[in-house]
Chain length 169, copies 2
């Protein structure tokens, strides 16, 4: 099967000069970055994260709630003590409502009640204002008893047109 | 608040030479990469993903099930037609069982029934064998009616000691 990105060729070049096979499992900086899956987001370069330094969780929007399973694993098994949440300008999450996306899926398979039930069970979590969504996610994490006590939590925006971040919380 | 990684300084340097502010929202290669949050995983470099080319979803393990919300948004709103799932050697998901991590969280707040209920509600999804977990995730996606019909799905492993990938499915 051919792929739209030639992973095998690209990776062979990467592996030919790879020298960091000794890095341990726990992130050396004890930090988690939560950010969006967006194609214009590239955390390592944009935030200066070195290999082995941070856990990076990415999902549609960079939603803290959707990252909770991963955060608990990161903290309880690997001792991370800090979480930085990044949402970005031009995010797809600003462009739809939950009823709209659910209807899109249902319309593709009309009359399929299994599909309707499965899509209705998903909390898509779109947001309408960027800084509000960042603050809301930070609040969600600050009040969450599943996190390690004393976890440092910050909230940021990333501007896809300028490449610049800004700390909000 | 100081951070264990100096995002502000690192990003100022990145933004000072940033020239890709024109990139559109949809990923140009119409592909989704699902991979682990692990600090030793760095998809852009390891797989040769250019800025703007692919959605990248990352969670503990690179679990397809946990990525489903994001995949539906990616496909229905932004037209991605291919999904590549990567799991990696030395993954934290190979090191624990669900009862173990739930007990860790409960033991930190003994007697707190809210915490116990919240952590019991999480499907942590550890796995015991790498290639099996890749195949299982590919099967999960292939049978999922929420995906666009005809989506190309592949499964891979990444070796953190050699930097090399291998296609499994």
């Amino acid at each position: 099967m051919s792929h739209s990105i030639d992973f095998a060729t690209n990776n062979a070049q990467y592996a030919s000069t790879f020298t960091q096979g000794h890095l341990p499992l726990p992130p050396s900086k004890k930090i988690i970055v939560v950010t969006c899956m967006d194609a214009r987001v590239e955390p390592a370069g944009q935030l200066g994260i070195g290999l082995g330094e941070a856990h990076v969780i990415r999902n549609a929007g960079g939603l803290a709630k959707d990252a909770l399973r991963s955060i608990v694993i990161s903290q309880r098994l690997l001792g991370t003590r800090e979480i930085a949440v990044f949402h970005h300008t031009g995010c797809g999450m600003l462009t739809f409502t939950s009823p709209e996306i659910k209807q899109l899926v249902k319309d593709a398979q009309p009359g399929n009640t299994d599909v309707a039930a499965a899509v209705d069970a998903i909390d898509f979590g779109p947001f309408s204002e960027l800084e509000t969504s960042v603050k809301s996610d930070v609040e969600f994490l600050k009040g969450n008893p599943l996190l390690l006590e004393g976890t440092k939590i910050s909230g940021w925006t990333y501007d896809v047109t300028s490449g610049k971040i800004q700390q909000i919380v």
